[in-house]
Point group: D3
Chain length 279, copies 6
């Protein structure tokens, strides 16, 4: 159950409204990495996370905070869009907001595209969802930073700095939640990858480019157990694809199956899943 109190989580004060900047800010209201996307992604992950009620709480804590952020960024945008009601040239630059929306804030991104649930990444696999959330917070952080780069208004900067800071807080919390599951670093789900094949870094792009780039080497070809395999098209042997013989065994699960669960969660035996059914 939700309750709303009228005080904003951060008090927004701006100097001179800047309609063009208000329009840019829409990216964090109704855009792909904006506050509604964050609120919905974490909240829905949380509602689905019936197998680990502690991390379910984490997801709802942060999902709810993002709703409060949506309200803050919405207030900031409204203040910047205020001249739309009286400035015809500004209005013509963004007719959708002005003519259709009356100059208010709307669930659009900075180019007027409507918000869509296609922005969300929700798989119902907790550690995977946490990785999606860490990446989402990193994206939101860089967008706020770029927005700060386009304004000189101190009150606006304060608000954006507040919102940007909280993304790092959330990134730390999601990372801690993932680490505390104590899973091996590349273990996902229940099925192990095929040995030998999983170690082969495939060099699918070769040659010298018009932009000064060429076939490069880096630690990503030799770390984490990897080694390079050249493409047949570049004269190499290609992937060892004749090594696949059904599933390759079960993954290490860490503490993934030992969490406290909700009363409506499926019984443990129902969750044995893929690895068992294939072995």
């Amino acid at each position: 159950m939700y309750h709303h109190i009228k005080e904003l989580m951060y008090t927004v004060k701006i100097g001179t409204p800047d309609v063009r900047f208000g329009r840019m800010l829409l990216e964090q209201f109704g855009g792909a990495n904006g506050e509604l996307a964050a609120a919905m992604q974490y909240t829905i992950q949380g509602w689905n996370c019936v197998d680990d009620i502690a991390r379910r709480d984490l997801l709802l804590d942060i999902g709810t905070e993002e709703l409060s952020h949506l309200e803050v960024v919405g207030a900031l945008i409204r203040m910047h869009l205020k001249p739309l009601k009286t400035d015809a040239a500004a209005a013509e630059a963004d007719p959708l907001v002005t003519i259709a929306g009356g100059g208010g804030v709307a669930l659009l991104n900075s180019q007027g595209n409507p918000w869509t649930a296609d922005y969300l990444k929700v798989t119902g696999e907790l550690d995977v969802d946490l990785r999606s959330n860490i990446a989402a917070e990193a994206r939101a952080k860089i967008v706020y930073e770029r927005l700060i780069d386009h304004t000189d208004d101190p009150g606006t900067i304060d608000t954006l700095q507040f919102l940007m800071t909280r993304e790092i807080t959330h990134m730390r919390a999601f990372s801690a939640a993932l680490e505390s599951m104590e899973k091996p670093p590349f273990s996902i789900g229940r099925l192990a990858p095929t040995p030998v094949l999983v170690d082969q870094y495939f060099d699918g792009s070769t040659g010298d480019g018009n932009e000064g780039d060429q076939n490069m080497r880096g630690p990503w070809m030799t770390s984490n157990g990897l080694h390079v395999v050249e493409s047949q098209m570049a004269g190499g042997k290609g992937l060892s694809v004749n090594k696949v013989r059904g599933v390759a065994g079960a993954e290490e699960r860490g503490k993934q199956d030992s969490a406290q669960r909700t009363t409506t969660a499926p019984e443990l035996e129902e969750l044995v899943g893929v690895a068992d059914s294939k072995v």
Copy 2:
């Protein structure tokens, strides 16, 4: 420049076609975490990555491999959808593929939604993009695993196991590329978060729930420098929102600015960016 050779990267052989399973497989052809999404996300990140031509090569290596995977999963789907041309009941279950598409593969997800670029996460900030890619590979891995759980056909399992394995390979490579940038773990971009505020874990969801959940604690509240702050609505003090005073300084950048760049990359001074313009 691209070249296509007709041999598939993995030879697909199936037993009895299963139209319902073929439809499920569309999720990895034209779905949100499918092979076209992966190919486009990494390839476009690579084309944009003019400031680090080594990791640009990584992005193009893997982006190109995903195109080959798109072809493999497309061949697998086509074989499973083959009865659509002769089995009226199967056709009626999926009229869009049959009636509009003639029973072939199409850029739809498992529910017939058209593929959209809204699935992609491309920011142009290399370490952020790598985090998005790590999460994307984790999602693709779990989807392949769930698909394996819904078939008993050995040839189909082999193909899916091949594709699933490669996601882990890519996850390892993207992780190595991120680690080799030697950035502090929660450093994103150029602007530092606000001290004190960044350490506050906000407890926005409280109480006892109907599903047996209650207000929970976990290491995510006390790790990575965090401590709990109670919401005013639950009787707490709330966030220290009065501590924000403009930008808080510059972030540690690791080796982010020292990579070899393409001849068309902007000059370094053009890239100084946010932190400098605000200090």
Copy 3:
């Protein structure tokens, strides 16, 4: 600012899960007339409604309640979808929810289409927005009623009856808010319609149809000041279109401009608007 408490607004209890019904219920979670659409429509209208802080409160009261309803209907769906994790046939009938989403609830409608902000109707003109909300509540009511018609599970019916009842409550409140503005019934905005022309009901569809229908008459042709005008194509005189001579004067406003406003609302003189600029 928002706070979440874990108790649901209505305690959901179901008997035997019914996956097909769970899928139908998605229409009220991520569908066009569902709870997120209602929550977002009213909340965003409220945030924009800076000229009438009393009705702004109304919009936020109900918008917040709809968020709590979203959580309730989400819990109901999750319980009905629970067999997806163990029942392969059910899973294959809805691969997007199962394979991509892990069997949890998602922001999709009953056919798997992602939620989009195109569902929302927000104009920033308060009385117009209230009419949109009255219609939205009527639509939501009829959808809940149809859902009740497709289940026999007593706990499910109780939950849906709760949600359905609240739509009528909201419809009453929005109607009262509109009436209390004391506007003439067909007065919208600031510009009056053109006399004579506005009274002409145009008979654009004529003849006898294959389904037993024919050219019909009804009170809608003669009420509210209207009279029938026959189309030229049916031998009539057509609309009096040569009577338009610019704007026709100002509309009666009722109590629309006398409400208490927020401190960030534009000054009154800024709002004089269309009628003044044209006269």
Copy 4:
């Protein structure tokens, strides 16, 4: 069956073309509340309305007129966009219309988003659809009024005043059609809301806000049978949610079931519906 005659329903004459205004006008051609949306919403409602052939005729009369309006607003836009073919700067401001569309009119809104059937509200419940139409006409009226505010061209104003006037005509007709059904004001469908619960106005947003707003009272809390219930989170008792005991009885139907129907309409006994199946 449709027929087209080349004469426009309103003769469009403009002075100097204004490309920016032409782009704004697209909102009423291919936008959410534009003429195609109106034409399609009413026409499809009409085709589905086989149980009341008189109001079916109303829906087709107005749906057909909206098609003629689409043509009028299209002609107006084309005239304003004419300089796109020769003015490079104007073309660059709207490349989608110029480069892709050759400078003609297209089914886009004012920000270039393609028209989508998600804009439509069609439930097949006649009185609900009429409410949606009343709201749609109100929205279209206010958008035309805002457009008039952004032009000084007399011919353009005449055309928009014509179109705006007709929205009020339609609003009157739809209102008369709803009233003539003689339904109780808050009766929707066949199932009555739960007594007691339906009378409770829930105060979900409380406190004092940063924009000068506070917890407000208004007639919407005490009219139409309502009284206020305070949220538990604000120290109140909350909704009487333990009062729900299945469906609460049948709704008053007014004259809803006594209209003349088409020859293809289902028999009356087929339409008994929800209330009967639950009692």
Copy 5:
């Protein structure tokens, strides 16, 4: 201006309704190649075609007929969907149509996706638009044919045969309109392609494939002035890309610029366009 008469263009009579077939038929109502797409594509092309009022009339003749077809296919669908109101299992198979739409027809395709203007191909270049229309009619024909293959109901087949036949009529008319412009077969627009380069067929896909295919030859490599060029990646010389030196001259225009135009068409000199500005 449009007028509607209630008689259908083709009288629809069906035997036993078939809900699954009704759902398939939606593809031609609200699908990518359906009747609304055809009506809108031709009508909007016609409204934009101010430079050739004879072919403008053609586009409006056929665009209007497609609106009448939309009505016919809508009536056919409604009759087949009729059992949705009384058959729960059928309703559950298509909840969007039943629960949200009340069992009526809607602007959805056969998988429930909303109609979008992204389906349309409108460039404003008449001969290009005619080619798009010829292809569109061919697609609609094959879809009707596939639908006929899925029903045995004589009345349904008659209706579909009527609609299918008209697509061939339209294909003939659009082809005649293109031919009568007397343009050289591969002349598009005003700019000629670069000599030598335009004659090179590039063999971008080589090798032997797993499905029995290999590098094939055909008349498309040697007709219409073409000859094969091997890719560098397959040991060939590649395209003669060093031959491009700006624009290559003007195209033959046939009778494209000599048609009678509307009074609102731009003057001829405004249309001189690309070739002139570059030479």
Copy 6:
């Protein structure tokens, strides 16, 4: 299987970057008639074309070349967008590319709409797909030509002239592939249209228009076997709709069924299809 070499298919060199032009160019990267749309349309048609492996090769040759074009146009856009990183005004004109995307290229069209598979036309009927491709190439050609008209930069013109030329090459090849199937010109699929009815050109738009157009005649009414039939609404006899009596026979197939097929293609008897099942 795909391989990427870093050299571009055409070496892109530009003079002064032009951000507005870069944004227009996005139409050919992520727009409806752009290079990804072409690559995906032909490649997926090719993968599905198991019944004619020679034309399958054609589709893959050209589909692969379009991927290389996507890379070329992407490089061109990136160079033109380069100032976005340092020019605030340019950035504000396109916040989605700058703020969300970091100034790189993205799968958007020139108005910021995300690429969608709704752009594709894939039916699985080879001759129909070839017609769709001929039209697609014509559209792409005219868009490149319009782009050339908006730049004076010689290097940019060279690149666009290269890409434009190749569209004509592809148009020639697709036309040759269609002609070499030796099908009668208006034969589509397996079912013949109904005689008499198929010859009737229906005059659905009549009268004198406000833009100087009137009811026009042209060869499209009398060529290819057609003659004019006047609408009943204009006093004519209308279409001979009482002539439809089920399917009208089989179509001439040309060489459509005699091609060499892949090893995974269905057997010929499975493909007999509609005509046989109805006769």
